[in-house]
């Protein structure tokens, strides 16, 4: 009997003190965590749309320059339109070599060209695959055609080719040493583009 009481007492003490600690920490950190996440996405959207922002809070510039469009339906998707250029940006994500890659991409108003792309989160090999996040590489996506043939409504996507081999208007020079990550990025961009361009057209 005594050991049972000790056990109950022990569970109560341990449970209540740890729960109190966790709830307290959660109440202090929930807001900053949500803010950090939103900030990161806003920065990604702004840099894809080629809108300059300072190092601190991007919120003001974001709300002044970007209009958010949410598609109707069960799984709403948010699209972001630049108020100045009319470019459309949205989030894309998929698997890389080491883990998930999250990025934002901006397209021209007719959805035919890439205006900008930025990597929001990635876990690729440091020094090798992680170079897909470098501005020098991402700048090469600017003004690439994502439609082929006469029908401008069909999204065919981009191709990341060996470094120095890019010739066609949908080809991008890859990074030597980051071939696998480049391939993964290409696949993720193309499949997400096909999905969301159609979705955005339908919603308009």
């Amino acid at each position: 009997m005594k050991s049972k009481i000790t056990m109950i007492l022990f569970v109560l003490i341990l449970g209540s003190s740890l729960t109190t600690a966790l709830v307290t920490v959660d109440s202090f950190t929930r807001e900053p965590i949500a803010r950090n996440k939103a900030k990161k996405l806003q920065k990604g959207i702004l840099s894809s749309l080629n809108i300059e922002y300072g190092e601190d809070d991007p919120n003001e510039i974001f709300s002044a320059n970007v209009e958010t469009i949410t598609t109707p339906g069960d799984k709403p998707k948010k699209f972001y339109r630049s108020k100045t250029s009319g470019d459309i940006a949205f989030e894309i994500s998929g698997t890389g070599v080491q883990g998930e890659i999250n990025a934002t991409i901006a397209l021209s108003p007719d959805l035919g060209q890439i205006r900008g792309i930025s990597i929001v989160g990635q876990k690729e090999t440091p020094g090798l695959g992680s170079r897909i996040g470098e501005a020098e590489f991402l700048n090469k996506f600017k003004d690439k055609n994502i439609t082929s043939g006469k029908d401008k409504n069909i999204t065919s996507g981009i191709a990341i080719v060996a470094s120095g081999k890019a010739a066609a208007d949908n080809e991008i020079d890859g990074i030597t040493g980051a071939t696998l990550s480049c391939n993964a990025l290409e696949e993720l961009i193309n499949s997400e583009l096909k999905k969301y361009v159609v979705m955005f057209r339908e919603s308009q």
Binding site: M7, L14, A21, D26, F28
Partner: protein, 210 residues
């Protein structure tokens, strides 16, 4: 011997043991997994060191305070619950106030739960000792783990990225050693470090014997 004076001989012995013959990484080979994964940059190593030390100290306080109440049969689960709670606290704090570091350290903060240093010390020391010596022991072990991590990270970041704490050290023509920024580089370094520390210890014990 300033430390000896404030801590008293018994506690001083605990610290000396943790930093010397019972060094958690070099002697007991505990916490190797995170030492390999996190030591690619000095800032990550510092964050991880502080995180582990905090969890160790908090666990020491809880386990030693409750040591008479913890039923024998469920003590390991009890350690896990206590450790896990504090790891969540560390993780949330990093996410909220140090988002950059949190991103780099990523899943490894969660893996502090399985860091054998904490489990090992809880089972070997905290459960049998009062709060004060347990906290001293936790600090000493956290310190031993942190300085190992930071020492390896200094070498890895310098060779792998040419920087220390993101400050450029190497000349601009420096070719980064990619292997150093990946886990195998840490294997080589940690192996070397364990070898050197054991050689020093052996030399020390031999002269003592004479």
């Amino acid at each position: 011997m300033f430390l000896k004076k404030i801590l008293g001989p018994k506690k001083y012995k605990i610290v000396k043991k943790a930093l010397g013959i019972d060094h958690p990484v070099f002697s007991a080979c505990l916490g190797i997994c995170s030492a390999l994964a996190i030591s690619n940059k000095v800032s990550n190593a510092i964050a991880m060191g502080v995180g582990v030390t905090f969890v160790l100290v908090a666990t020491a306080i809880f386990v030693s305070a409750l040591r008479r109440l913890i039923p024998q049969r469920v003590r390991i689960i009890t350690y896990m619950i206590i450790i896990a709670s504090f790891v969540i606290i560390v993780d949330k704090t990093l996410q909220a106030f140090f988002p950059g570091i949190s991103e780099n350290v990523g899943p490894y903060v969660g893996l502090i739960i399985t860091n054998c240093i904490i489990m090992g010390r809880a089972e070997a020391f905290f459960i049998q000792n009062k709060i004060y010596p347990s906290v001293v022991d936790a600090f000493a072990n956290g310190l031993a783990y942190s300085y190992t991590l930071i020492a390896i990270a200094v070498v890895r970041e310098l060779l792998g990225f040419g920087t220390i704490l993101e400050i450029r050290i190497m000349p601009s023509g420096w070719e980064n050693w990619v292997v150093m920024s990946m886990a195998p580089g840490a294997f080589f370094l940690l192996g070397l470090a364990i070898w050197i520390s054991r050689a020093i210890q052996d030399a020390g014990s031999e002269t003592e014997g004479e």
